[in-house]
């Protein structure tokens, strides 16, 4: 299994294996901008791992405007999948669909399916709260509640009704260890979470999200508000976490995607453009458009 731990050098492919049969001068991104139907290029390698999450023909509208077009992708279990693309490509929107956080937005309509370990995420009578306990989320800006560190971490357990002090204390320690924060806060669990530094707060949010032992952890640009050292700590954390659960991470930082993820999906204007193993996408993409993006030649 490929490990993404080696720093990746992005070099121009010698002879990229482009897809055949494209008319000369055809630019897929241009075509997308003109609203023409395009096909996603999904590498075979994504199907090599069993999928924990399966997205099929997924579409989303904000009122009248369509934000996601026909997304089809499996998310591999116990791997880190990165969603990259320029601003407005829908990566955050797609992420927030997985734990049905878009339900909170007025005027959102969806079409298509998402399944988690085979059971549907969208559908009549689906237990939304159950989905949200199985799919955790970490936000771009850390949002610890104005409570103690302990209360923050075990919040999900409390609202599920767990009251036994021993259980809560134990799960708190496990979660904080998983969040690489235990050593730093074990002596001040009763202090306010707002007293932590930015990086610590984000790790607290990660600990809080994994306390209920979700199967999938969604991360929406978790390091964008942090300094490089805090960022590195979190990236290490992500690699550790994926042994226990699946991570889907949205990032606008290509180097981060290259460092951290096993699989990468490149999105543009709500469409999935190319999806494959990170090494392939960065060194050997099938589409010239992808190559242009990852080498920084646009956006």
């Amino acid at each position: 299994m490929e490990s993404p731990t080696q720093p990746l050098q992005i070099k121009l492919p010698a002879a990229p294996a482009f897809l055949p049969e494209r008319p000369a001068g055809y630019n897929m991104l241009e075509a997308i901008r003109r609203n023409e139907p395009v096909e996603s290029t999904v590498h075979e390698s994504v199907h090599a791992q069993p999928a924990v999450l399966s997205i099929r023909d997924f579409e989303l509208w904000y009122g009248k405007s369509k934000a996601l077009h026909g997304i089809n992708m499996p998310i591999a279990r116990n791997r880190v999948t990165a969603l990259i693309g320029p601003s407005g490509c829908g990566k955050s929107t797609l992420l927030r669909c997985i734990n049905r956080l878009n339900d909170l937005v007025d005027g959102v309509r969806i079409h298509g399916q998402m399944t988690l370990q085979g059971s549907p995420i969208y559908g009549p009578g689906v237990d939304v709260i159950g989905i949200r306990t199985r799919v955790g989320m970490v936000f771009q800006k850390s949002n610890p509640f104005p409570m103690s560190i302990f209360e923050n971490v075990i919040y999900a357990l409390r609202i599920a009704g767990e009251r036994r002090k021993s259980v809560l204390a134990e799960r708190c320690e496990v979660a904080l260890r998983n969040g690489a924060l235990w050593d730093e806060v074990k002596d001040r669990l009763t202090e306010s979470a707002l007293g932590l530094s930015g990086g610590q707060q984000q790790r607290l949010c990660i600990a809080r999200a994994v306390a209920s032992e979700p199967e999938v952890l969604l991360m929406d640009e978790p390091c964008s508000a942090l300094d490089p050292i805090a960022t590195l700590k979190i990236e290490e954390l992500v690699r550790d976490l994926c042994q226990r659960l699946t991570v889907v991470i949205v990032t606008h930082n290509m180097q981060q995607a290259a460092r951290v993820s096993h699989y990468t999906a490149f999105m543009y204007l709500g469409r999935l453009v190319e999806y494959g193993r990170t090494a392939d996408l960065f060194q050997n993409p099938l589409l010239p458009e992808t190559e242009q993006y990852v080498t920084g030649r646009f956006g």
Binding site: N99, L101, L104, D106, I129, G130, R132, T133, G136, M137, F139, K141, N143, F145, P146, M147, Y155, A156, R158, I159, A160, L194, C205, R208, A209, S212
Partner: protein
């Protein structure tokens, strides 16, 4: 010749108006302070320990004290808050957190604002028609109801405003962890806003404690220290009014003492509330 701008006259006019504005501000503060100082000074001459320990004696030349009235106001405000605070908070929660139900939230917000400006004597008359008339006598219940009527819109609007100040990231975080709306509101949003919500409630209490008109036709007033709301009920404000507009010199002196006590309590209350609010606001900003 190049224009030199506004002429000398205009500049002098500006300077005069500047002085006028400064003067007006000083005048307002001086005027209001004068009024208060006078009331406190006269009141200080008349207040004594008996004021707090005795009830109305019935003898207009030696009227006793206003203990019954102070207790009366406390009881009325307490009863009014028992209904007014929960109802107001629930309405505020709805307007802030369930605001997507616009058919209810929008009119409620508008009407709450409008109700806050209704003259309190009209509310007293409502209390009379709705409670005193069917009950057959003036009562503490009617007085408390009138005060609650005044309280509910104020508490609702301040609760709503404070809840709206809580950043949305808290709500998103709570939902993402699998909480229901009620859990999110009760465990995260409301506690986050609790300081300012409590401030708003206390200010509403202080406002209602100083009201006279709504009690005139509902609780009426009483000579006796009583805890039974089924009967006419004493209150500090009505007692002061009755004495002040009466013919007896001794009673009028007592009214001044009453004003001193009332103003002092309300002042101290408002001061503490606002200072605590300002301090906690600064504390929140630094985080």
């Amino acid at each position: 010749m190049r224009s030199q701008g506004v002429g000398q006259l205009g500049r002098w006019y500006s300077r005069i108006m500047f002085g006028v504005c400064v003067g007006f501000a000083a005048l307002i503060i001086a005027l209001l302070s004068l009024v208060i100082w006078y009331l406190l000074a006269i009141g200080a001459q008349s207040v004594d320990l008996a004021f707090f320990t005795q009830d109305q004696s019935g003898d207009p030349t030696a009227p006793g004290g206003m203990r019954h009235a102070i207790v009366g106001t406390l009881v009325l405000v307490g009863l009014a808050s028992a209904v007014g605070v929960p109802m107001g908070m629930l309405a505020g929660i709805h307007m802030a957190e369930y605001s997507q139900e616009t058919w209810l939230a929008k009119p409620a917000r508008f009407i709450a604002d409008v109700l806050a400006g209704v003259p309190s004597i009209v509310i007293g008359i409502l209390g009379y028609e709705l409670i005193v008339v069917p009950m057959g006598n003036f009562s503490g219940w009617a007085g408390a109801a009138a005060l609650a009527f005044i309280m509910i819109p104020i508490v609702a609007r301040t609760t709503e405003e404070m809840l709206l100040l809580v950043p949305n990231s808290y709500r998103a975080g709570s939902f993402a962890l699998g909480a229901t709306k009620a859990q999110t509101i009760l465990r995260v949003v409301l506690p986050a806003a609790s300081g300012s919500v409590v401030t708003g409630i206390m200010l509403a209490l202080a406002r209602v404690a100083g009201e006279t008109a709504p009690l005139l036709f509902t609780a009426l007033g009483s000579r006796f220290l009583t805890l039974d709301p089924n009967q006419p009920f004493p209150s500090l404000t009505v007692q002061i009014y009755t004495y002040a507009t009466g013919p007896y010199e001794a009673e009028r002196r007592l009214a001044w003492a009453g004003i001193l006590v009332l103003i002092s309590i309300l002042f101290a209350l408002n001061l503490t509330i606002r200072v605590v609010a300002a301090r906690s606001a600064r504390h929140l900003k630094s985080n």
